[in-house]
């Protein structure tokens, strides 16, 4: 045994080669709040990693005439004036491998879930230029979120960037988590980037994903609220680097940035400490570029360039519903649509609290399956008209029949679109429920019984209209035969339900 150790050590030492080369060094001039000003380092590049004597890593962010501004990734308490700082010649990169799936890592790819080291042979740079025009492909494959209101009205496609925006406590993260849970068996890798969130929230979320069996295809990148602003700043870029690693294998990836408001705040903190001039709301001038270069990395690549896609769901938290603030307007303009959540709707019990009027998906129905397109075609317009009529109807009681009918249909539509958390719905079920709604089969069911009716209908049709379900699963559209079977099943179920 001890012989073995000696032998192994000898082999290791023999394999060791010393490489003496000149190194570029600098010296710390000042350190404060996670920032170090370093003199020297004349040939250093922007975003290059530098190492401090206590083993901490820093990233060069400011290149000035006679000094460089470095953000310190980790604790800066032990770094003092005069310390020697070495340039590494490498742009900041994080280790990646397939075994990162199911793990929780910090912003520099170090596991923080206590499950041991992640073996990796490759590293990916965290800053990369987004794929160019020739490598891209249009978005036409759906990402099924399992949420009726989204899949039917604001469909998301693979490679799209869809913003989730709303006040605190309106269910933004809930939508993201449901979307991850629904990716089981959908051939999708998920990356959840948590920026400046409480560790307790992250732990809860991790447990929830584990319970739903979603950690098998998910990676969590976390920069907690107690960590330095520098970690929050690089976390989304690390997340997208991991996503790119999987996309390069031709896989589809869903990445969630929760949330980019905190990311912008972290960047503002760093920028102000680096004495960059403040602009609107004290954010630096390049805060738009901060998010645009991140979100441009979401794409769908054509087969010639390896295929695969990255779908991004950034989250923005608004203050008192103000979507015209600086960061929300920026991110709205960068993304391909937004899901707008409202606290009023949330408290009314409409959950998910999606405001259908203000939410859009610019990629739209090209990312929907044919069957869904058919049933959801007029739903958005119907709902918008309903909201208008609803306000109008409060003033007068004398309404004509068609208006009354529209109001009743609208109430039922709202009811059908309500959905519990952690209960994503299969697309076939969504189609059946919306078919029944748009064809008027629910018009004579009392509003308070709609949920019960829907649940019973899905169960009944699954057993009695198998042809329809088979057609949807296989060819994404129904034929006359399937529709006939469904219609029959709905009529049968309705007669038994009304009794």
């Amino acid at each position: 045994m001890s012989n073995n150790i000696v032998e192994n050590l000898r082999k290791e030492i023999e394999a060791f080669k010393i490489d003496t080369q000149t190194e570029k060094v600098g010296h710390v001039m000042e350190v404060f709040d996670g920032i170090a000003k370093v003199s020297g380092l004349s040939d250093v590049k922007s975003s290059e990693m530098v190492s401090f004597p206590n083993g901490e890593t820093g990233v060069v962010l400011n290149l000035e005439e006679d000094a460089v501004g470095v953000i310190i990734l980790g604790s800066f308490e032990k770094i003092k004036e005069g310390d020697e700082v070495k340039a590494t010649g490498k742009i900041l990169e994080i280790p990646v491998s397939d075994s990162i799936l199911g793990r929780t890592v910090n912003a520099i790819g170090v596991p923080i879930d206590g499950k041991g080291v992640i073996k990796s042979t490759k590293s990916y740079p965290i800053e990369k230029v987004a794929p160019g025009v020739v490598t891209r492909l249009g978005v036409d494959q759906p990402v099924a979120t399992g949420i009726k209101a989204i899949d039917a009205i604001i469909p998301i496609g693979r490679g799209q960037r869809e913003l989730i925006i709303g006040d605190r406590q309106t269910g933004k993260t809930a939508i993201a988590i449901d979307a991850i849970l629904n990716q089981k068996g959908q051939n999708m890798i998920c990356v959840y980037v948590s920026i400046g969130q409480k560790d307790s929230k992250l732990r809860k979320l991790e447990a929830r994903l584990e319970e739903g069996g979603a950690m098998d295809y998910t990676v969590i990148v976390s920069a907690g609220a107690s960590e330095a602003a520098a970690m929050s700043y690089i976390a989304p870029y690390s997340g997208v680097a991991i996503a790119e690693y999987f996309m390069d294998q031709g896989k589809d990836v869903l990445i969630i940035y929760d949330d980019l408001s905190k990311h912008a705040v972290a960047y503002r903190e760093i920028s102000l400490l680096l004495r960059r001039p403040p602009g609107r709301e004290a954010y630096p001038g390049d805060v738009f570029y901060l998010h645009s270069r991140l979100l441009e990395r979401a794409c769908r690549r054509n087969a010639k360039y390896g295929g695969g896609s990255i779908t991004a769901l950034p989250i923005i938290e608004t203050q008192a519903g103000d979507i015209s603030a600086y960061i929300p307007t920026n991110v709205i303009s960068i993304t391909d649509g937004q899901i707008f959540l409202e606290s009023d709707l949330f408290y009314k019990g409409i959950r998910p609290a999606v405001n259908v009027g203000s939410s859009v998906s610019r990629v739209g129905s090209s990312a929907q399956i044919k069957a869904m397109k058919k049933v959801a075609g007029t739903l958005k317009l119907d709902l918008a008209q309903f909201r208008e009529l609803e306000a109008f109807a409060q003033f007068g009681s004398d309404l004509d029949d068609s208006t009354k009918k529209q109001l009743e249909r609208g109430k039922r539509a709202v009811e059908v679109l309500k959905q519990l958390q952690y209960a994503p719905m299969k697309v076939e079920h969504q189609v059946v429920a919306l078919y029944a709604l748009t064809k008027g089969s629910m018009d004579d069911v009392p509003v308070n019984k709609i949920k019960e009716f829907e649940a019973g209908l899905l169960d009944y049709t699954e057993r009695h209209a198998k042809v329809f379900y088979k057609e949807i699963t296989e060819s994404k559209m129904w034929t006359d035969k399937g529709e006939e079977a469904l219609k029959k099943a709905i009529t049968e179920f309705k007669s038994s339900f009304v009794k």
Binding site: I18, Q21, E23, K24, V25, E65, V117
Partner: protein
């Protein structure tokens, strides 16, 4: 008003004194001190002097070298090192300082500007330590 950097002042002093000697040089230097006083930069005179030294070194091809060894090295070795460095940095002349630091154990560490060549035993041992505890 824009902040005046010590480097800017140093550059101005260099161009004002360039090629001058005798009383002319004395006058130019006196005026330089007056400017420092007027601009309230006397407190920054150390930075200005350092910057001026750097400018002069650069213009005249002077390279400053610092060599640290564990034990004192002989005169011939010092000369040899100086010549080698002179050639490497294509310098007109070299100003060298030699220090001893027993904790380096052996070998030599040469510093020129912000470039360092660390061939000390201490550094080699540190590298070996890193190599042995690396994650594989």
């Amino acid at each position: 008003m824009a902040k005046i950097l010590p480097k800017t002042i140093a550059e101005a002093i260099y161009s004002a004194t360039k090629g001058k000697s005798g009383s002319n040089l004395g006058l130019a230097l006196k005026r330089s001190v007056k400017i420092l006083e007027n601009k309230r930069m006397i407190g920054k005179s150390k930075e200005v002097l350092n910057a001026l030294q750097e400018i002069i070194d650069k213009k005249e091809g002077i390279v400053r070298m610092k060599a640290i060894t564990a034990r004192k090295i002989g005169h011939t070795e010092q000369k040899k090192l100086e010549n080698e460095m002179k050639e490497k940095y294509k310098a007109q002349s070299i100003v060298s300082e030699f220090f001893e630091k027993p904790e380096l154990l052996g070998g030599i560490r040469v510093e020129v500007g912000d470039e360092i060549l660390d061939a000390t035993y201490k550094n080699k041992l540190r590298q070996l330590e890193k190599f042995l505890i690396r994650e594989t």
